[in-house]
């Protein structure tokens, strides 16, 4: 699975001598964030070889989508990365809008930015909670993280009807226009969020145990990250300035003032800090979006719900999901079903460098490194 020829860590033992202990970690190991298996070969406590095995949660997402209408695939996208259904909806809606040439009204663009950034907040905050849980901080940080996440999910429930499987976006806008009360509540939540982030940082940032467990662990060098196609906070933690919100400026992201935090060392601690800093930038985007949101329709009046038949052609829509570049590639041959429907999942592509990050470290470090990759098996296996 190695993305470049040379190993990062020099191996001393003979991998093929038959003297290594083979351990199958997962698929039901609680630290693998779902059903993910790693075939690890160990010399004592040192990892000599690591083979990720996925596919336990495969449910034929792409083929199901190719057999249904364009609209029917929308609720299935919720179940890809089930922590952030809003961004999945957006990526799919974006590529269908590109394919069919549907315009999105101004207000809908703002609503999309608001829900996407709220999704980023809740994803990052729960990721950090999970990472601490993997490290042995049993409960406390995760509970604090989930407490804040639940407040955001309550907002999603008021807006879309469910907490996680939102199914909120439609081609040409969003399904429900948020009420002024909802926007006021979102504004209040965003106003309180920096205080929580301060507390959360105070809780963990300088913790000596956290630092010794994460600094210098799971290092992902810049070149390898670029070569392997890693995206998102993982890539930025390795010091590469690449954020699709800035590079592609999809939607209306070019209107907002925000910075892209960059890491230096590419270790687990940098990946943790990147997410903390990204949440602060998301809060900034949210403040601007909630202040500037215009009045108007939340749905293109010309867009029809049923019977979408785009002209023959292809389109690739991509967004910066909380985990990295999430893209949907669609080919249409003029029928109501997509001819080809392909998802570019950030979780899976970020996972391919796992072996390179873990070699030469101990088993306990695998868990921490895997936790910092931020995978959701629904998206890895599809």
């Amino acid at each position: 699975m190695s993305a470049v020829e040379e190993r990062i860590v020099e191996l001393t033992g003979d991998v093929d001598s038959g003297q290594l202990l083979e351990v199958s970690m997962g698929p039901h190991h609680p630290s693998t964030h779902g059903v993910f298996r790693m075939n690890v070969e160990l010399e004592g406590e040192r990892v000599m070889k690591l083979k990720p095995v996925f596919g336990y949660l495969h449910r034929n997402h792409e083929k199901i989508a190719e057999n249904g209408s364009y609209l029917a695939a929308m609720p299935f996208t919720d179940r890809l990365d089930y922590m952030c259904s809003m961004t999945n909806n957006w990526a799919y809606a974006l590529s269908v809008e590109k394919l069919a040439g549907i315009a999105v009204p101004e207000r809908a663009e703002y609503v999309r930015v608001i829900v996407a950034e709220l999704t980023r907040l809740q994803n990052h905050v729960s990721l950090i909670g999970f990472l601490m849980q993997d490290m042995g901080a049993s409960g406390t940080p995760l509970m604090y993280a989930f407490r804040e996440r639940e407040k955001i999910l309550d907002l999603f429930e008021q807006l879309s009807g469910t907490r996680m499987m939102c199914n909120y976006m439609r081609f040409g806008g969003v399904r429900v226009d948020p009420t002024p009360e909802w926007l006021a509540e979102a504004e209040a939540l965003v106003g309180r969020f920096p205080a929580f982030l301060d507390e959360f940082e105070q809780l963990l940032r300088e913790n000596e145990i956290l630092m010794s467990r994460t600094q210098g662990v799971g290092v992902l060098p810049r070149e390898l990250a670029v070569n392997a196609g890693v995206t998102g906070p993982m890539l930025r933690a390795s010091g590469v300035n690449y954020d699709i919100r800035k590079v592609d400026a999809y939607g209306i992201y070019d209107r907002f003032q925000f910075r892209v935090p960059l890491g230096e060392h590419g270790d687990v601690y940098d990946r943790y800090m990147i997410r903390m800093l990204e949440m602060r930038e998301s809060v900034k985007i949210l403040e601007q979006a909630l202040r500037e949101i215009p009045e108007g329709p939340a749905m293109d009046p010309k867009a029809r719900l049923r019977g979408l038949r785009p002209k023959a052609g292809e389109a690739y829509g991509r967004i910066e999901s909380p985990k990295g570049e999430l893209g949907f590639f669609l080919i249409s041959n003029g029928t109501p079903e997509p001819y080809r429907y392909r998802v570019r999942p950030p979780s899976m592509i970020n996972l391919t460098v796992l072996e390179d990050m873990c070699l030469g470290r101990s088993v306990a470090d695998i868990v921490v490194t895997l936790g910092s990759v931020d995978i959701i098996l629904g998206e890895v296996d599809r």
């Binding site: 249904g68 209408s69 609209l71 029917a72 695939a73 929308m74 609720p75 299935f76 919720d78 406390t140 604090y144 407490r147 639940e150 407040k151 309550d154 429930e157 008021q158 807006l159 879309s160 009807g161 469910t162 499987m165 199914n167 399904r175 429900v176 309180r192 507390e199 105070q202 809780l203 963990l204 940032r205 300088e206 913790n207 000596e208 145990i209 956290l210 630092m211 719900l305 049923r306």
Partner: protein, 192 residues
């Protein structure tokens, strides 16, 4: 100093612990079966069929057009159209579903059937305590179980139901307007 970070973190934990007695923001949980939070207006679980008046068979809004059956992403709806017609709320003769079944073990609560329905006949229910020990019959809901009166719809989604009622009243008024001149003409013809 070594351990300073840990002490700072513990101070934060203490603040949360004692704060949970004073601030509602820090203690958000409720003791579920006894205490319940109100459900959101938009909450959705499984679909149900709306009927007007007191008679389920007569008042069912569904006209068995099968749009929801076709559009349902996991294909959990089965509809059998009737052979004869019955009048709908405007008096126009329409087909009705002989059989309308939803397999709730397959349904994924996506609400697409509600969005595509042109007759406001299918809506989302908010009841969620639905466990059953019969995994075949208990999860395959027939028309009789799915049908709920319009008053129930008003109870669970008050704002949405009021808007729907207004729309339907408008439709009915329009249909009657069309109907009345036609009836008057027919009467005139009979008189002649």
């Amino acid at each position: 100093m070594l351990g300073e970070g840990i002490v700072k973190g513990l101070a934060e934990t203490a603040r949360n612990f004692f704060g949970s007695y004073a601030e509602k923001d820090r203690l958000t949980t409720v003791q579920f079966p006894e205490e319940r939070l109100p459900q959101a207006e938009a909450a959705r679980v499984f679909p149900f069929l709306v009927y007007d008046t007191d008679d389920m068979e007569k008042g069912l809004r569904c006209v068995a057009c099968k749009i929801c059956e076709v559009e349902c992403p996991p294909k959990c709806i089965t509809i059998e159209k009737s052979t004869e017609k019955k009048p709908d709320f405007t008096g126009k003769p329409q087909f009705f579903p002989e059989k309308f079944e939803i397999d709730v073990s397959v349904c994924m609560s996506c609400q697409i059937c509600v969005e595509v329905c042109p007759f406001e006949a299918i809506k989302m229910d908010t009841a969620f305590e639905l466990s059953t020990d019969d995994r075949f019959g208990g999860l395959h809901w027939p028309k009789e179980r799915l049908a709920k009166p319009n008053e129930y719809y008003h109870q669970i989604h008050p704002m949405e139901a009021a808007a729907v009622d207004e729309q339907l009243a408008e439709k009915k008024a329009k249909a009657e307007e069309k109907h009345v001149p036609a009836a008057a003409q027919a009467e005139g013809a009979a008189a002649r």
